[in-house]
């Protein structure tokens, strides 16, 4: 591996998130841990990435709202909650856990930005783990 090669880390290293719900619509905020990580999110975590991550829930419209002054973005995902808290059979009908589904998306990070990532120091083998899943 060359010294300037990007690392691939789970998204939760670069951002945090919270899910809210209204009916069958979820919104998931995604907030960069550091202003310099924001551009990576804008470039890589787009509507298509989110659609892929939530494909098993057959979402309808997905809109990404960018908030550059907050170094944040807000995803609004329609018809992703099987009817929502009043219609779904899911234990978590609100979809509150879904922020952590989003946060396992892989993110490519230039080595220069690695010191800005959150969490414990990266394990040598974690840098190429596509999902961040330690199983």
């Amino acid at each position: 591996m060359s010294i300037d090669q990007d690392l691939v880390v789970p998204l939760y290293r670069a951002a945090h998130a919270r899910t809210g719900d209204k009916g069958d619509r979820a919104n998931i905020s995604l907030i960069a841990w550091h202003p310099q990580l924001w551009a990576l999110l804008v470039e890589q975590i787009d509507e298509d990435a989110v659609r892929g991550r939530f494909a098993h829930r057959r979402p309808g419209r997905i809109v990404r709202h960018l908030l550059p002054k907050l170094h944040a973005m807000n995803f609004v995902i329609d018809e992703v909650l099987d009817g929502g808290v009043n219609g779904s059979l899911n234990l978590d009908g609100h979809g509150k856990a879904l922020s952590f589904l989003l946060l396992e998306l892989p993110l490519r990070v230039p080595r220069a930005l690695v010191p800005l990532l959150a969490g414990p120091p990266l394990e040598p083998d974690e840098s190429n783990n596509q999902t961040g899943d330690k199983r």
Binding site: R18, S29, L70, N74, L101
Partner: protein, 455 residues
């Protein structure tokens, strides 16, 4: 215009929140010395329908069941210290809640507080039937309506405070309006001063979920560490005369307030951040900024506002049937295989009752979809401690009850070693949303007559 800042503390973010949060908030408000308001937000979307059902059974019920627990510890301090109280804990019966508060004050040996009751949100009666049918359109077909409430704005709350209310009891008002009402009354802003009202609206938005802005619902060990989750301090917004605010919390309490906790809550349940719709204003946080001023002190600025919507949102809660759930645990060798076999047995026994959701708790559950696409994609994983959980919805109670019986019967008829059966059956409520012209909703307030609430 009054330039003195207004402090608003929030001591509950939903019905079921901690009931011991208010004490430190009230102490901090009184210690700060300026004008102050305590709010409780206790009314999620379905809470009002559940309250309406409670009121059907008991005409004096239908308000926040924990009203006493919320108020008893702080009512004396608020009345003595000049901290006014504003809440939607009236739910389906604001006059009943007001009478109960008057009685509580008497029980505590306090003077009678001036209590205002906000009215106009309840549209379930005959007088509004035509309005609702028009607004719902085809959604109205076949609805068994439990409750219908418009989301009122801040004006009735503001007017009640200006008229001298010490406690304002509302039913359905938009959550941020609990803060906007006191701000309107205190600062004397024009009712179309959209930027300032939008600022107060987002302050109310940050407060309305209680500790969710001060470290609650945030912690993730190793990534997002929060001290003192067991003793979280609930938030206080210091609102200035221009609608900006600083979010803080009582000294000596647990939790944390930093730019990240504030950003998470700022976007919570927001859809379009450039147009956050409330009855009071269309708030725009596209240019908003948060800035840490010191420990547990974060400033929100740059919120803009646009003219409020001409329509008010109405939620109509209606009965949709019954949700049946059952669980059973398997552990040790081949536990997951035994749980999967139990799910197959239930599918065969309950065939024809509609979608049966099956979760293998410990292997996969809440990320999955009702149709099971997620679970199918995972395949088997040899889980050794698995709790099978099944759920279905049915319009008829007797049919839904069959699920509980079949899960229980797994004790003798299911795979080996299953234990710990639990079952639950609960009424399901759906929500149909519509909007009505604001002038068709008669929002206002009345004072509780002196002597009301006598035992």
């Amino acid at each position: 215009m009054n330039r003195t800042p207004l402090r608003i503390g929030c001591a509950a973010g939903f019905s079921g929140d901690r009931t011991d949060a208010a004490g430190p908030v009230v102490d901090a408000l009184i210690a700060a010395g300026g004008p102050a308001v305590l709010i409780f937000e206790t009314l999620a979307e379905r809470t009002l329908a559940l309250a309406q059902l409670a009121r059907h059974d008991d005409p004096e019920a239908g308000y926040e069941p924990l009203l006493d627990e919320l108020l008893r510890p702080v009512l004396a301090r608020c009345l003595a210290g000049g901290v006014r109280i504003v809440s939607n804990f009236g739910a389906a019966n604001p006059p009943g809640a007001a009478r109960r508060i008057a009685a509580l004050a008497r029980e505590l040996g306090l003077r009678a507080p001036r209590i205002a009751v906000v009215s106009g949100d309840d549209l379930a009666g005959d007088a509004h039937r035509g309005l609702l049918l028009d607004a719902l359109g085809r959604q109205a077909d076949g609805l068994s309506v439990v409750s219908a409430n418009a989301y009122l704005g801040a004006e009735a709350i503001a007017d009640a405070l200006l008229a001298g209310a010490e406690i304002v009891v509302a039913g359905r008002v938009a959550d941020p309006s609990l803060a906007v009402g006191p701000a309107l009354a205190h600062f004397g802003w024009a009712r179309d001063d959209w930027d300032r009202i939008a600022g107060a609206t987002m302050a109310g938005h940050l407060l309305e979920c209680g500790a969710q802005v001060s470290g609650g619902y945030y912690a993730d060990p190793g990534y997002k560490d929060v001290p003192g989750l067991a003793t979280l301090g609930y938030p206080i917004a210091e609102i200035d005369a221009d609608g900006g605010c600083v979010i803080t919390k009582p000294p000596g309490t647990g939790g944390r307030i930093d730019e990240h906790t504030v950003k998470e809550q700022l976007l919570y349940e927001v859809h379009d951040p450039f147009a956050y719709l409330t009855p009071d204003v269309v708030a725009d946080i596209g240019d908003a900024q948060v800035q840490q001023l010191g420990p547990d002190r974060v400033r929100l600025s740059g919120v803009r506002g646009h003219a409020r919507p001409a329509q008010l949102k109405v939620n109509v809660c209606h009965e949709t049937g019954w949700l049946a759930e059952g669980e059973i645990s398997y552990a040790g060798p081949r536990a997951e295989a035994r749980a999967r076999l139990a799910a197959e047995v239930l599918r065969e026994r309950l065939h024809g009752l509609g979608t049966l959701r099956a979760d293998l708790i410990g292997v996969s559950s809440v990320f999955g979809d009702d149709a099971g696409a997620w679970a199918a994609g995972l395949g088997g994983s040899d889980g050794r401690d698995v709790r099978l959980r099944v759920a279905l919805q049915h319009a008829e109670r007797r049919q839904a009850e069959r699920l509980a019986r079949e899960v229980t019967a797994l004790y003798t008829c299911g795979p080996a070693g299953g234990g710990g059966v639990r079952t639950a059956l609960r009424r399901r409520l759906g929500i149909a949303s519509c909007s009505v012209p604001r002038e068709r909703v008669d929002a206002g307030f009345t004072f509780l007559p002196t002597g009301a609430g006598a035992a």
